[in-house]
Structure formats: C-alpha cells, structure tokens
C-alpha cells in the first residue's frame, strides 16, 4: 500500500494531521467558552509579533530541537526513547556540575565543557536502558519511563542534599558565576545596533541549528547512520550485514541521550543559570511530538520545534491575556501526538486509496517485472 508519493508522506500528511489537531484544539477552546479565532490571534501575536515573542519562541524551540533530535535519532534505530525528560534532567546536572565546579574565566571556555558535561550525563542516563534493551531485551519504552521517575528522584535527592546552598530554603544550586553566562540574542543584536527584547534566547540556538545539521550528516551521510537506519528497518537484516545490534542500540541511545542532555545548555546555562528541580519543563515529552511531526528528519524536527516553541510562547501569552490556562498547550501537544503519531492511519489510508485510484487511471502496473 506504500504507493504514496514522497511529498505526500513528508509534507501533506503531517500538515493534515496538524490541521486536525488544531481544529480539535479550537473546538476545545470553544467548549470552554472562549473565541478560538481570538485565541489564535493572541497566540500568533504573542509568539511572533515582537522580538520579545520571537525570543521566547526560539528559546523554547531550542529546547525542543535537542529533545526532538534525541527522539528522532532513536526512532531511526526503531527505538522509542521516552526518556528524553530524564536524560535532559541528568544533562542539566552535568552542565551544573561542570559550570559550578570549575572557575571558568570566560563563557567561550565554559560552553564546550558544559556541552560535554550535559551530553555525557544525558548519554549515561540513556546507557542503562540501552544496555538492558540490547543485552537483556528489556522493553526500552518501559525502562526509559522508569528512568524518568528515577532521574527526578535522584535530582531531588541531590538538590535537597549535597547540591543545596547552605541556608537557602529552595531546592536549587547556587547561581552560576557570571563569567559563564551565555550571550543572549539581546546582547548580540545590541552589538549590531539592533534592539531585541529581553529574552533568554541565547547562542544555544545556534548550537541547536548545528546539532540539526550534524544529525542530518550522521543519519544520511555516515556509515553509522547507514547502520542505524538499516538496523531500524530490520534487525535480522542488520545481523546478516554484520551490523552489531548491541553496538547500534548503544550508540543510537547514547547519541539520543546526549542530544537530550544538551538541552540543558539552553535551559539551565542559558536561562535558569542554576540547577532547579524541574528544569526540563516537559520538553523531553514535547520532543516526541516534534520528532513525530518532523518525520524524524532534522529539518522537519527544526520546523516542528519552532512550531512548538511558538505554541508554548503563544500559550503563555494566552494564559496571560485570557482565562485559558497554559494547559491548553499540553492539550494541543497531546492532540498533535495523537493525530500525527497514533491516528496517522486515519488520514493515510484514505489518502493512499485516493492516490491509488488516481494512479489506476493509467495502465495498471503488471505484477512482476520480467
């Protein structure tokens, strides 16, 4: 039945799915007695109507780029990594430790080290479920869910204990030293003489773009990417081709966890500038929606991440200006996952039938090529 043209598969179907999700979201807004059109206007204006809006939109998008790429890389190896949340939490821990323990003279030195710290901790947190999947066949979806819970317990343990600032009541670490603050969009644009809203958008966004490009290279241009995709399509074929499933599962998950962990560069080093108990804000889960919408392609992930960034920022404005709670965004996110991920067949099947009927007009392809 795979007779859909490629453009329909990568663009048309996600678009229809997205529209369906938004339509249902609109109904929900209507249901709670608000005007969906007005709500949409507020959201659009809030998200992209000012440099302030853009700043926050892209700030959130940066988070989602990392978690989205994390889910996408794992998807290519047919691994469903629901553990982005926990891996990002641990990544945050890694970033915080690197930044707090070493007296960095300048952010340019701190950044690469923090990237390493975040990626390493995120990867380490993904390594255990990956190992258990590869060696013992433990279902990675369940283990990564469990590891999300364990991560948050671990973080709480550290934040109310070893990492807490003596005398402070809040479970958070000390503030990072000023030398490690990343330049924000405001700083950078100011240097160019352009005024930009005071937002946490920072150079991590550029890092996110670089991550997209690197992921694209990895998946479509390297041997490892070839092996990951081959393994994802058929494990038995991979074994036949001498691709070690253990190696691929481990590497794909380590990369995935590392990407999730790098989210902390933006969220923790870029914005919060200290380690909080809840620093991921559900971005690990948004990554699932982003990867599904983006069809696991880095470019798609980038676009979907910006879309979700806008949704988050728009949602925050919506909450501010109307009585629609921020949970509206969670609902939209859920609907996007539902329509693009689970109810995909609802759109795909009639569509491919349509395309098939369309194709049938031309002489039917004879069975067999000889």
């Amino acid at each position: 039945m795979d007779k859909l043209p490629k453009w329909a598969d990568v663009a048309l179907i996600p678009l229809i799915n997205l529209l369906l999700a938004l339509l249902v979201s609109g109904l929900v807004v209507l249901l709670i007695g608000e005007d969906p059109v007005e709500a949409l206007q507020i959201m659009v204006r809030g998200a992209v109507g000012s440099t302030y809006g853009w700043g926050y939109t892209l700030f959130y998008a940066t988070n989602f780029i990392f978690t989205g790429l994390a889910v996408a890389v794992a998807f290519h190896a047919r691994l469903f990594n629901i553990g982005g949340e926990g891996q990002a939490q641990l990544g945050a821990l890694g970033v915080a430790l690197v930044v707090l323990w070493v007296p960095w003279p300048h952010w340019t030195l701190a950044l690469p080290a923090a990237v390493l710290g975040g990626a390493l901790f995120g990867a380490a947190w993904a390594a255990i479920p990956a190992y258990l999947q590869a060696r013992r066949g433990s279902h990675i979806v369940i283990t990564t869910i469990m590891f999300n819970f364990i991560a948050s317990a671990l973080l709480v343990y550290l934040l109310v204990g070893a990492l807490k600032v003596p005398g402070s009541m809040a479970p958070e670490t000390a503030r990072f030293p000023e030398t490690t603050f990343l330049p924000t969009a405001r700083d950078i644009f100011a240097a160019m003489g352009i005024s930009f809203g005071r937002t946490p958008l920072n150079i991590s966004f550029v890092l996110g773009l670089a991550a997209c490009w690197a992921t694209w290279l990895l998946i479509w241009r390297t041997r490892l990417g070839y092996e990951i995709r081959a393994f994802g399509q058929s494990e038995s074929a991979a074994v036949y081709a001498g691709i070690s499933p253990f190696r691929i599962i481990m590497l794909a998950m380590l990369i995935s966890g590392g990407l999730a962990g790098m989210m902390a560069i933006n969220a923790v080093m870029g914005e919060q500038q200290r380690l909080l108990q809840d620093n991921v804000l559900g971005a690990g889960f948004v990554g699932i929606a982003v990867a599904l919408m983006g069809r696991s392609h880095p470019l798609g992930v980038l676009l979907a991440a910006i879309l979700f960034g806008a949704l988050y920022q728009g949602g925050a404005e919506l909450e501010f200006e109307t009585s629609v709670p921020r949970e509206m965004v969670v609902v939209i996110q859920a609907l996007v996952i539902l329509f693009t991920g689970a109810l995909d067949g609802m759109v795909r099947r009639p569509l491919s039938r349509m395309f098939l009927r369309f194709g049938r007009r031309r002489p039917a392809p004879a069975a067999g090529g000889e």
Partner: protein, 532 residues
C-alpha cells in the same frame, strides 16, 4: 455429503482481489466436486493462498461470487465459512503457541460461556476423532512443545472438530518429510472416502499426481487451467505453471574439486530456548564444487548458514582456507566473515538480504558498507554506490533498471537478482546460498543457477541449502542430508534418488530396511521441531 454428486461442493465465479497495487487474483473461476481431492499448483506469489483465504472468509474479494453446494454463499468472515462447513489449514499455522492442544481446538467453537464443560466435551470428541482418523495427539500438550507435524494434525483436528466437510490445506507438505507427507495423504484419502471435499495447495507435482482427482493451475493471479489429474503429466503441468517449457535440469560440466576451502568439525549450536539446533556437524568443502544440503525445513540448515555467515554464535571448529574462523565473540560477526572471503545469499531476502525501504543503490552496499571503495573520508560516497548499482543492474538485467526504486518495489525475482549481484560480484572464496530461487520466476531461476555454476567453474566453493530436492539434485556436485541437527549422510547426485534422500531427511540411515511409518514418526516427534 448427501448432496447430489453433480452439484459442485464449491464453485468460484470471477473472483478478483488486489492488495494495494498488487493484483493477487484476477477474475478466477473454479469448481470442485464433492468427495474429491482438488489440487492447486502455481508458483510462489501466484495467488493461491489469497484465493483460498477468500474462500475461507479471511480476506474479502473485490469482486466475484462464491457458491457452496450450488447455493450462493456470503462469506464475510471465517465464522461464516466455518458455518458453511469449510475448514482451512493455513500455510503458516494459526495456533496459539502457549495454549494446549485442547484449548486451541475449542477456541472459537466453545459450547457456552463457561470453559470447563466445553473442554470436557471437546476432550471426548477429540479422542473419537483421533481414533477415526489416526490423528493421535496429546490434548494437554502445549503447542510450542510439539513438532510441526503434530501442529499440523492439530490444525486438521481443529477443522474436523468444527465438522468441516470441505477442507483446504495450504502447502501442508512444505514442512514435512516425504514419509510424513505420505501419512498425511493417507489421512486425506480416508477423509475423501468419508465423502469430504479437499482442496490441496502444493508446489510439488509428484503430490498432485499421487493424490488429486483434478488439478487447477495458477499463474500470476490468474487461473490458467483446470484438468483431470489422470489426463495430464508433470511436464505439462510445469509448462502451464510457468507459461513455457521448463528445463528441469541445469546444464553443467562435471566438477573439478581442488583444495579444501571450508572445513567444519563438531559444530554445535544451542538456541535461545536451550534447544540444540546443530549437534556436531562435520563437513568439508573444496574449491570448484557445489555442496548441496538437503533436508526438511527446520532441521538445522538455517542455523548452519547463519553460523557460517556470522549471524549466530556456535561451538566447534571452522577453518577457511586453513585459517580458523572465530565462532564466538565480537570477531565472529558477519563483517569479519565477509572480510575473510565469504559471501552469503541469505534464505530470506526480505528479512535478511535487503532493507526493503532502502533504495536499490543503498542496498548494493549492504554488508559491504564499510568497504573503502564506498567511503569518502568519514562519510559515505553515495555517488559511488549509485554508479555501482547501475552497473550491476545492467549486468544482471534487473528490472526496472532504476537504482532509485525502493527494494520493496521490485518483484521477488528482481530482488533476488539484486542480492545475487551484490554477493557474487564480490568474487568470494566461499559462497553460502540459501533457497536461491524461493519465490523466483522460472526465467530468473535459470539465470541464477547459471551464475552459481559459473562461480563454481571459476574455482570457488559453494554451499547450497535448499528445501527443493529438485534444485539440490540438479545443482549439487555432492549432497549432504541434514536431519535434526546432524548430517545423516552424503551422496552423489548421480548415485541417489528422491526416495533415498527422503528417507535420510526423515532420519533413517539404514536405507535397505524398509522402515515402518511409526518408526519414522517416532523419530520425528521427539525432535521438537518448530515451524521455521
């Protein structure tokens, strides 16, 4: 049963069915008279299973009509088929592996909402049925503990339990030894005597000739002919099947074996379920010869290929050109086997040989993707891959000649050509080939056979595994028969015949004595064979 013998038990009129772009059945009509055994033959993918599944209500036909005992029947689902007295034994058994025989038999045909009375009643009926038809099975055994032959009995009992008087068997002998098949045919004859109608799908012309009353031939989704078996012969049937005259033998010169290439000693494999799949294999293979491994599917041939191809760990000793091959650990993988000079055409091109969603050009490097010829620095040189694929497409006449097409969109024969091209062009010292022509068009079969023989003539060693005795007999220079993880014996093709090989395949080595069926069965049922 009491019906007038001139009304067909089943009549199909103008049945058509397509799966997306694939038209599996085109305007098929067929009649089957009651109390007869009706054979259906046709190549793989001809649409036989699809047609029967429609009759059984498993698939819905796009067009056409089914008549049962002269009356138009609506068969929207299997429930309706069962109610109409149709039973079907599928090519791939439909049994719940961790249920008992009894539970499988009552499933869907329970007496009431509570199980206990149903099971008790079924147990009684079952013992009667097994008496009547010599179909002995332990009602409390778990399916996963039974051999394939036994599982098939359960399937037949399932149909009989539902009082089927039209029984469809889809390739029932594909997994049986000749002796087991004989036993099955005796049962079928018994059923025919009772007045039941049987439809038998098979690839084996001998079986058609032996047991059927009438036979239909299918080709590429169409019904090409229906004839009385008595009025035809195997070569005519073969011709109808493929649409032209068939060469039943491969043209080849006698082998000129040279140095030993492959030496296998005491090879053992224990699978995940702790079942011993290979129980000490010893084999020697020389350059310039084709060694054929015959055997019923599931007797360890696949494991042998997998071990040699680096897909599975084993114990024992294997040397290639005098050097030991590691059988366990990281250096036992398929990559290292390829580096050592072993190419491998796997048994299942869909599950192993190809990545169906990859473009053809991506598949050309599959398994050889770390070859420096395909690399450009750290990245892969996709242009090189495409050039390579295009060259192979031309040399092997792959159609359509489009290296951008996804592998899944080539037909089975062309997919196999892609695999063969990739593996043979590596010019390996040892070629492992599993089921090279399974599901492949006869024209392509000839081509593939020629390629294999050419490789042998170029002084390479070939290890051929096939369940098709014909293929083994016509291609091999030497034949080894595997049974239950052991080599039962070696023969020369010119000095043996199907009967002798068949007995070896059933585990009977003493070919002079005429073993009783029970002996054969006893031999088989202990093996714990499973459907592959």
């Amino acid at each position: 049963m009491s019906d007038d013998a001139t009304t067909p038990a089943i009549e199909l009129v103008g049945i058509s069915k397509s799966f997306g772009p694939v038209q599996a059945n085109k305007d098929i009509s067929m009649r089957v008279m009651p109390g007869t055994i009706h054979g259906i033959i046709g190549e793989n993918g001809a649409g036989k299973s699809t047609l029967m599944s429609i009759l059984y209500g498993f698939y819905k036909a796009d067009a056409g009509q089914v008549m049962i005992r002269g009356k138009t029947a609506e068969i929207p689902d299997s429930q309706a088929a069962i109610a109409a007295g149709i039973g079907m034994v599928f090519q791939h058994f439909k049994l719940v592996e961790n249920f008992t025989v009894l539970e499988n038999i009552v499933l869907g045909a329970e007496e009431g909402a509570w199980l206990r009375p149903s099971l008790a009643k079924a147990r009684k009926l079952l013992s009667r049925l097994s008496e009547d038809y010599e179909l002995h099975v332990d009602p409390d055994a778990r399916i996963e503990d039974l051999g394939v032959g036994m599982q098939q009995r359960v399937e037949i009992l399932k149909a009989l339990y539902r009082q089927a008087d039209i029984l469809i068997l889809d390739e029932p002998t594909g997994v049986l030894t000749p002796a087991e098949a004989d036993h099955l045919f005796r049962i079928l004859e018994g059923l025919r005597r009772e007045g039941k109608t049987i439809i038998l799908i098979t690839h084996k012309l001998r079986e058609i000739m032996d047991i059927t009353d009438t036979v239909s031939v299918m080709r590429r989704g169409e019904m090409t002919a229906t004839v009385a078996t008595a009025s035809t012969d195997p070569s005519r049937l073969a011709e109808m099947m493929v649409g032209r005259e068939v060469l039943l033998r491969v043209e080849k010169t006698p082998a000129v074996p040279r140095d030993v290439v492959l030496e296998i000693e005491g090879l053992r494999v224990v699978d995940e379920k702790k079942v011993e799949r290979l129980r000490g294999i010893d084999l020697t293979l020389r350059a310039g010869e084709i060694l054929g491994i015959a055997g019923v599917a599931g007797n360890g041939q696949s494991e042998l290929l997998q071990v040699l191809g680096g897909m599975r760990a084993a114990e024992g000793r294997v040397t290639l050109n005098g050097r030991d091959l590691p059988l366990e650990g990281p250096r036992a993988g398929a990559r290292f086997r390829r580096q050592a000079g072993i190419a491998h055409v796997p048994e299942d091109r869909h599950r192993e040989g190809l990545i169906l969603d990859f473009h053809a050009w991506e598949n050309v490097a599959f398994g050889y993707h770390d070859d420096p010829a395909y690399a450009r620095g750290l990245l892969m040189d996709n242009d090189a891959l495409r050039r390579d694929m295009q060259a192979k497409i031309e040399k092997f006449d792959v159609r359509p000649a489009d290296c951008w097409l996804s592998a899944k969109n080539f037909s089975g024969g062309n997919q196999q050509k892609i695999v063969i091209a990739r593996e043979l062009e590596r010019n390996p010292d040892l070629l492992l080939v599993g089921q090279p022509t399974r599901g492949v068009d006869i024209g392509a079969i000839e081509f593939i056979h020629q390629q294999i023989v050419a490789l042998r003539d170029a002084g390479k060693a070939v290890l051929l595994v096939s369940v098709e005795l014909d293929e083994i007999l016509s291609l091999s220079d030497r034949i080894a028969v595997m049974f239950d993880g052991r080599i039962m014996g070696e023969r020369h093709p010119s000095e043996t015949d199907e009967r002798e090989l068949g007995l070896l395949m059933a585990g009977i080595t003493d070919t002079d004595a005429d073993p009783t069926l029970d002996e054969i069965e006893a031999n088989l049922d202990l093996t714990g064979q499973r459907t592959p």
